[in-house]
């Protein structure tokens, strides 16, 4: 048996250690909820940006796509390319953070027992979920600022209401997050990783993000139009390109996906 060289007392006398009496005396209690929320959100945000793959997925790829497809006439979008692409890439950026990134991170947190361990602390689940939401919205804010700046640099001329855009981004986030958590809460982490990336690529191609849905046959087009990312890019284009109101069917599509996805995730999510 491997034995420490110094004997420890049988718990009844002072231990020969550096601990002063009373140093570990119990003083239990939970921190104020606001302090927990801030600490949790700040940690999650730091961890997100420390992950190179996440930065690639959420910042580098959207910017590259925006620059590339604006510069090169690869697709006919029926108008100025940058005006078509900025709303689409914004939708893609929301997808990358609130669906792909969230699903992969949550999947691994489940696999590594992080969610289980946090469940044994004073941190209430509601605060954990709020912190994760804050983290996602903060990443999206960084993405939006970056893409708007790059878009303006490429000659983009936006129209419409900022509030309508913000409302759409939040509704899209809710729809994607529900679906991402549905994957992460039921599948193994590695399966979640592969599935979430695969869906991201499918939606990048077929979600009306970069290639207009009008380039698909009409039967397919109507089905694709029901995808949340298609509804989000369509809604964003209506506002940012034409200064119009958000089409009702886009709101309905996003909100139905959000309701279904979040409900299904809440019902099926396994914390460990």
């Amino acid at each position: 048996m491997t034995e420490p060289t110094a004997a420890t007392t049988n718990g009844n006398g002072p231990a020969a250690s550096g601990w002063a009496p009373g140093e570990l005396a119990p003083r239990p209690g939970a921190a104020p909820l606001g302090r927990m929320l801030l600490a949790q959100a700040a940690t999650e945000l730091r961890l997100t940006f420390r992950n190179g793959e996440v930065v690639l997925l959420t910042l580098v790829i959207p910017v590259l796509l925006l620059v590339l497809f604006t510069a090169v006439p690869l697709v006919d979008v029926g108008g100025r390319r940058v005006d078509f692409l900025v709303p689409g890439v914004l939708a893609l950026a929301v997808l990358s953070t609130s669906f792909t990134g969230l699903a992969i991170a949550t999947g691994f947190e489940r696999q590594y027992g992080v969610l289980k361990r946090l469940g044994a602390t004073a941190l209430p689940r509601g605060v954990l979920i709020a912190a994760k939401s804050l983290g996602v919205l903060a990443v999206e804010a960084v993405q939006a600022v970056l893409l708007v700046a790059v878009g303006l640099g490429l000659g983009w001329s936006p129209h419409g209401s900022v509030f309508a855009v913000a409302g759409l981004l939040v509704a899209g986030t809710a729809a994607f997050a529900g679906l991402g958590l549905l994957l992460a809460g039921t599948l193994k982490a590695l399966t979640t990783l592969v599935t979430a990336n695969f869906i991201y690529i499918l939606l990048l191609v077929g979600g009306g993000v970069i290639f207009p849905l009008t380039s698909f046959p009409s039967g397919v087009r109507h089905v694709l139009g029901l995808l949340p990312v298609a509804a989000l890019s369509d809604g964003l284009r209506a506002v940012l390109r034409q200064g119009a109101a958000v089409p009702v069917h886009d709101w309905v599509t996003l909100l139905v996906w959000a309701a279904v996805g979040l409900t299904a995730a809440a019902r099926t999510f396994r914390w460990e």
Binding site: M1, T2, E3, P4, T5, A6, A7, T8, T9, N10, G11, N12, P14, A15, A16, S17, G18, W19, P21, G22, E23, L24, A25, P26, R27, P28, G29, A30, A31, R35, M36, A39, Q40, T43, R46, L47, R50, N51, F108, E109, Y112, G113, V114, K116, R117, G119, A120, T121, A122, L123, P124, E272
Partner: protein, 307 residues
């Protein structure tokens, strides 16, 4: 404050056809240290995880700080520290960062930097969790359990796989916790750990309690003590047995291995050495030994703990 920090009575937990915990009962008085001792698969982790509120009991009752952990989790969690057997940390998080996060959940936490230092983790405070050695991960996990200054901690295998120095640092922390009035419930498969640290030892095997009590109570019974020595094989023991007090007993348990059982006192020791001198025998490796928990476990289950 209730007198018992943890009360488990007739606890049963089944997974499909397997009964992982089969009627476990024990009480950990407030401020004491209790060790659940047993081999892997004995049901120790399941028992502790039910106390922590992670799992539901199929039968029996569990009271933690007087509350039902399955219902009163929200009230218990700020008061209870938990160390999982593995994992529980963001793989990309640095150890200092993770400990500060857990400290931020508590109203009056210990200083995370001080805690890392005492556990020998100061130099790896900026190392991501996934790059820590197994022993460093264990100690970080222990630090996370105590940083919130809980009144009760559940530690699942706190020293498994630690090197002797890290184990000593952990033992010192556990002893200091108990000395400061924190109730400690730990699982272990190290006999020595239970014997040295715990006030109460509950020996579990195949989901059942096979024995429980203080280390002294468990090792009492049978021969109080033994005297063992090595000498040339096949010595004539008759004269020795005659010289020994009534109730004592001498035998050659293996060739050249001699054991004297009974009340081992200075007089008896003198008798044995005098007999050796009379026979021109040099007794090597002469030792007076206590019956160990290992012996107790072997008697109760018919096999060794780590077999």
């Amino acid at each position: 404050m209730p007198e018992a920090a943890v009360e488990v009575d007739g606890l049963v937990k089944r997974y499909g056809a397997t009964t992982a915990v089969d009627g476990v009962t024990f009480v950990a008085p407030t401020g004491s240290m209790l060790a659940l001792l047993g081999p892997n698969g004995a049901g120790k982790t399941t028992t502790v995880e039910i106390c922590e509120g992670f799992r539901r009991a199929d039968a029996g009752t569990v009271r933690v700080l007087g509350l039902d952990p399955a219902r009163a989790g929200r009230r218990l969690r700020p008061r209870v520290g938990v160390m999982l057997q593995s994992g529980g940390v963001y793989p990309g998080a640095r150890s200092g960062e993770m400990l500060r996060l857990v400290a931020a959940y508590a109203a009056h936490p210990l200083d995370p930097a001080m805690l890392l230092d005492r556990l020998g983790l100061a130099s790896s405070a900026r190392t991501p969790y996934r790059r820590l050695s197994g022993g460093q991960q264990q100690r970080l996990s222990l630090a996370m359990a105590v940083v919130g200054r809980p009144e009760l901690v559940f530690l699942d295998e706190p020293t498994a796989g630690l090197d002797p120095q890290a184990r000593r640092a952990t033992w010192e922390l556990l002893s200091a916790l108990r000395a400061d009035g924190v109730t400690v419930v730990l699982t272990t498969h190290y006999m020595e750990e239970a014997e040295r640290l715990a006030d109460h030892v509950v020996i579990v095997d195949a989901g059942r309690v096979v024995a429980s009590g203080t280390p002294a109570e468990l090792t009492r019974g049978g021969a109080d003590r033994q005297l063992r020595f090595r000498a040339p094989p096949a010595l004539e023991l008759d004269r020795l047995v005659l010289a020994l007090p009534v109730g004592s007993h001498a035998s050659e348990v293996a060739p050249g291995q001699y054991v004297v059982e009974g009340t081992i006192d200075p007089q008896l020791l003198a008798t044995v050495t005098a007999w050796c001198a009379a026979h021109g025998v040099l007794a090597e490796d002469l030792r007076v030994m206590q019956r160990s928990l290992e012996d107790v476990f072997l008697e109760l289950t018919g096999r060794g703990l780590r077999s």
